[in-house]
Structure formats: C-alpha cells, structure tokens
Symmetry: C2
Subunit: 256 residues, 2 copies
Amino acid sequence: MSGEERKDIHNSDVPLVCQACEVRHQGVCGALDPDQLLRLSKHTTRKVVKSGQELHRGGEDADRCSNIMGGVAKLSKLMSDGRQQIVGLQFAPDMVGRTFSSASADASAVDNELSVEAATDVRLCSFPRSVIEQIMVDVPELEHRLHLQKLKELDEARDWMLTLGRKSAMEKVASFLYLLATHIDPEKPLGDGPVVIELPMKRSDIADFLGLTIETISRQLTNLRKRGLIEIEQRRIVTFADIERLKAAAEQDLSK
Amino acid sequence: MSGEERKDIHNSDVPLVCQACEVRHQGVCGALDPDQLLRLSKHTTRKVVKSGQELHRGGEDADRCSNIMGGVAKLSKLMSDGRQQIVGLQFAPDMVGRTFSSASADASAVDNELSVEAATDVRLCSFPRSVIEQIMVDVPELEHRLHLQKLKELDEARDWMLTLGRKSAMEKVASFLYLLATHIDPEKPLGDGPVVIELPMKRSDIADFLGLTIETISRQLTNLRKRGLIEIEQRRIVTFADIERLKAAAEQDLSK
DNA sequence: CGGCCGGTTGAATCTCTTCAACGTCCGTGG
DNA sequence: CCACGGACGTTGAAGAGATTCAACCGGCCG
C-alpha cells in the first residue's frame, strides 16, 4: 500500500492557514490528512468575535460551524419570560455548531433553542456545516472525533446537573472557579502552586451559569475571600493559594 | 455491484432473537445488516433487571452495553456525603453503557462516576462493549447512530439544566410530568385528549431528578391537583385533562 | 461633569428545606 | 385472622438559605 507514502508526499501541502494553527492536532482537524485539510480550508474563514456577540449570527451566517482557537464561548438557553441558563462553556479546541441539525428537527420535548455567544473575545476558524458533514461521510475518523467531543460535553453537562441540583451557593461558586482553573489553560498541568485565573465573564453570566443571582455570586465570592480560599484583584483576577482546598469547597459546604 | 443482492439473500438470516425484537429498527441495531446482526447477536443475552437493581453490576458484568427494550433506567451521580442527582432517564430504544470509556480515562474535572439503575423493571438486550466497538470500526453508520443518540441526550441534559437552574418547584414538577408524558410511550402521538401515565419511580427518585426534597414533590403534586391540572390515583397513576396546560405550568409559575 | 454599567452590601421577604408526626399499603408471623 | 413492622407518602410548623429591593461605590465614555 502506498497510502503512507502518499501522505508523506502531500505533507508539504498542508494549507498555510492550518500550518499556523495552534490547535490543529488537538481539535477535530487532527483526524484529517493534508488533502482533506485542503478541502476544508477552502471554505474556511478565520475571525474574531467580540465578547458579547453571538458566534453565528442569524441569516447568512447560520448553518456554520467553528473551531474555537482561543477564548471562551457560552451556550445558553432562554425562557420566554427572560430567565436564562448557561448550559455549557466551550474552550479551545472545541468545535461549536449544530452538526446533523441535532434536536431542531426532533419533535420531542426539546424546545428551547440554544444560543452560542462569545464570553470573552473568541478566535474562530469557521466553515459551512455542509462541508464538514460531507467530509465526515468520507472520513469516519472525523465523526469519531466529534463523537468523542460530544461524549465529553455530555459528561460535563451531567456533572454540572449535579452542581445545579444539589449544591449550595458556596459550593456552586467554588465549583465554577474550579472548573475554570481546570479548563481555561488546558496546557498547564496544574501543579500544586498558586493558580491565577481571569474570570472570563461578568457576574450576571456567572449567575446564569450557576442558577443563582448576581448578588449571591458577589456574596459568595467575598465569603470565599474572607475564608482565605481566594484572593480577588480588579474584580476579575482570582488567585487560589491551594487548589485542593477549592476543590474541597466545591464538594462540601464549609459553613456546616 | 452485488451488494444489494447479497443483502437480500441473507435477509432470512436475521437472527431469531433480532427478528422478534420490537425495537430492532429504531435503536442502533437499525444500522446493521443481517451479517452484522448475527455477529452481534452471538454475544447477546436478553434479561430483565428488577426495579432498583443496577443495570451493569460490577465485576464480570462491567464493560457491557445494553439496548433498552422496555422500562425506564435512571442515570445518577452520587456525592461523597450522600447527596444524589439523577442526570437522565433512558427509555427504549436507547443504548446504555460507556462506549469508548468516555470520561473515565479523562483526567479533567469530571470525577463523579455515573451509575445506571433500573427505575422500573427493565428489559435489556446486553452485549460486551468490545464487540459493539469493534463493529463500529467496520460500520461507520453504527457509530453515526450512536452519535445521534448522544446528541439527543446532550440536548435533553441541557434542557434539564434549565429546569434545574432556573425553574421553581412547581415548574420543575410540571416539567417532570410533561417529560414523562412525552417519553414513556414513544408510540402514541399525544393527541389532545386526556393523558394517563404511571409514574415510573418513587418520590425520592423524583426528588433526586428535580433537585428537590420528597416533601416538596409531594406538596407540589397536591398543589397541581388542587389547581385542577392533574388527578392522582393510587399515588402513581397521574391523569392530565389537558397536556397543554401542563406544558404551560412547566414554563411559568402559576402562583405568580 | 453626568450617566451608565458592573459590582458590592444591607434589610426584608419568600421559597424550599428540615424536622416531626401521622397515614396508608403490604407482607410477615404470631 | 389480625397485630406488627417497615417502606412509602402526606401534611404541618419552624428554620435556613437564597432572592428581592434598594442604596451605594467605582470606573469608563460621551
């Protein structure tokens, strides 16, 4: 078989945009060989979505998917009376966008549409859904990668259900901080030294993520601060001396 | 190509257990041709798990997956101090079991293991995980089906996060009843006549699903009863005169 | 400068939980 | 046959935790 050989020959044909891509081997693109990367990259645009903007604005920009190359995106559900719940955060190198138009065609109880918004400024590599779906038909490994990503999201969603349903306000806030510490910078292996993170969203977003109010978020942050678990600078920069103590606070209410 | 022809020849070779299977064309098995069904069915055992039992008991029975042929299974997460959250219900023809050992090998913040338990008596078609994973390598369509099912579960999980995070106790209970009405009997198209369902679980399970206490469940059920939205017989049989009113109660607090 | 946005803090209120008592169903054993 | 015990469910009263409402602070931009 000359498959191996062919790949080598074409290696130099990796599209320039992809060669420069930091997350190329981590995201779903890791499943693609140079030919397929080229095929995808022909329909690819890079862009930066400013914090607060929707990732895929309605109209011509619907039916697109994107790989996140940097920043944080939030997925949220909105009720008719304005109540909101953030149901997930996405970090690099996740892919966002509805492949296989999941749920939309589905006539079940799933009725609240999901909106995807930039929590921080987000760098994207965006392409039409139809292209990625077509490549998936030819490259099962691509669907497999996407499948694995969705399994991870499902596990995370279920973990968060435990937080939403069964944890106290303080545990929720600690869980949120712990989540960020373990996801924002996927590179760092989280040594036991102090950890510094920048909160990627404002209090109202945190409240919508935790199923609480902004006042409760504020109070619990000062609560954690007074207990010496965290330090806060400029309202957005949070430092943990000991991440294990934070993890403990996320799992049992210290006030008891 | 004689592929079409060959399929026809082998049609009569559909394994007997599969021929008798009510959900054969709906579940993941719908992706398999007779040869593949045979390959899978060689490792297949049918069984009934009594209500309250774990679906895949530890030890020799780990590393198995099952198609649900009837009944309701509950997925739940347990905290070290005993607090519990049910993170999903599975109905026929869903498949349960961890394909690709999702999350377990993953060193991220996902740390609470998922347990799968029969809520009612559950009829299963069970097989080793390794077999289904091997067939998936050969039949991308099988992985595609599983992928779609997981996308549906993800949507349902996120919908439920909205319920857990942002709804009042009464809305939660109404949401639960509405969920059952739309899932327990997947056949019936839900005409606008009265709907009768049997609650597949006891109050403490409902509480763990909704992130409430059993007392609150009880109170809200009587609350809904006194408002004329539901009737309750024998503590388990619930009748809705008008399912649309129930849906409305699930989305806005009537007490306001 | 003035207004607005994001954030913090306090006091009152409300929803849900906790604790406790009681009711019902059902299988077991005297 | 009926008394007993245990699992499950309901109801009431008291209490805790989060929300609501309101005041206030600081930074930023027109």
